[in-house]
Assembly symmetry: C2
Homo-oligomer: 207 residues x 2
């Protein structure tokens, strides 16, 4: 959920190149304004190659979301494991930083796309995506309880509240003027984490 | 935010009749499927009367949202004042009840409309609407602190976290399969309210 565009490894094949180009075009233009031609602008091969693989924008964007989720999933394994308090603070802070001041265009686009989930296949994607973030948070909290970093608690419930609150923060940030309310939310969320897990906020929010 | 359609007092004039009809048509059909003709079906006069007052759907729906908000605002004053713990529990529970099992069509519609706020006048409406709910929650919490029902706390921060979490719950409920996560969120939100305000959940969720 960081503010900057993800840097991808060299795409494995043409299909991955298309998905990376779609991601870049989505981050620039949003969903409503997105056209295959605009994706073509981010793509080194001829736009006709895109039409060869996809004939509608919705299927292409859905594959792009799945691709982003797989990359996030892959990033969770491998690499040195962070201490649970560092990992939890980072998750919370990166979410709030992504929406402070001007929410990144991509965050706004994701919030919009998610609402398409009231109708169609996006629903399934965001259910899977929430499940993944939820499990990630449960794992961090459980690790912290087990190694004594956190006070004893029900990791499933803590993860549920955290994810619902952070999702609400993304939604409010992109659909209203909520800067002060979200700063207050962040402060209070840390008061909750301190009361519940004994997790201190430690650092001031970065600007 | 209750599950059932609001019962309005006798509309004061034709314009209010149109807004009530719009509300009923929105709750039935959602925004995308809404047409002036469908609003006409909920309206006792000729549909041409609607065209006389409004020439686009967006302006009509926006006025309808403002109308609903004014009704809610009016309902906050007058009538006997509830004890702060009763009022707070009712606010939380009614929100969760509106989204348990099948979220009401109107809730889904509101979540969809709110996302239009990334673009246009809806933004201003939802900023105002959030401000109103926020102030309502601040007033309840402050009253509870003042009369000793609640433990001492910062009412502004508590209200911010509550509203962000409840907004996130509405958003998740309408855009993913989140039943278990939302039940866990509700349980944990009460654990937070107990830790922070000494508010006991008291009653089990009604089915």
């Amino acid at each position: 959920m960081g503010r900057d565009l993800i840097e991808f490894e060299e795409p494995a094949d043409t299909k991955e190149e298309i998905l990376v180009a779609t991601y870049e075009a989505l981050a620039k233009h949003g969903y409503a304004e997105l056209t295959i031609a605009k994706i073509g602008d981010e793509f080194e091969k001829a736009p006709s190659v895109i039409y060869h693989h996809y004939d509608d924008k919705e299927a292409l964007v859905l594959d792009c979301l799945e691709f982003l989720l797989e990359r996030f999933e892959a990033s969770l394994t491998g690499g040195p494991e962070e201490a649970p308090d560092v990992a939890l603070r980072r998750f919370v802070d990166e979410t709030f930083e992504a929406i402070t001041d001007e929410p990144a265009r991509l965050v706004t686009t994701l919030v919009e796309l998610r609402v398409r989930a009231t109708h169609d296949d996006f629903h399934e994607h965001f259910t899977r995506s929430d499940r993944l973030f939820h499990d990630h948070l449960v794992a961090i909290v459980r690790r912290g309880v087990d190694d004594g970093t956190f006070a004893d608690c029900d990791p499933d419930r803590v993860a549920a509240l955290l994810l619902t609150t952070l999702t609400g923060a993304l939604y409010r940030a992109t659909t209203s003027d909520a800067e002060a309310a979200l700063e207050a939310t962040r402060t209070e969320l840390y008061a909750y984490l301190e009361a519940r897990l004994e997790l201190a906020r430690d650092s001031e929010p970065s600007a």
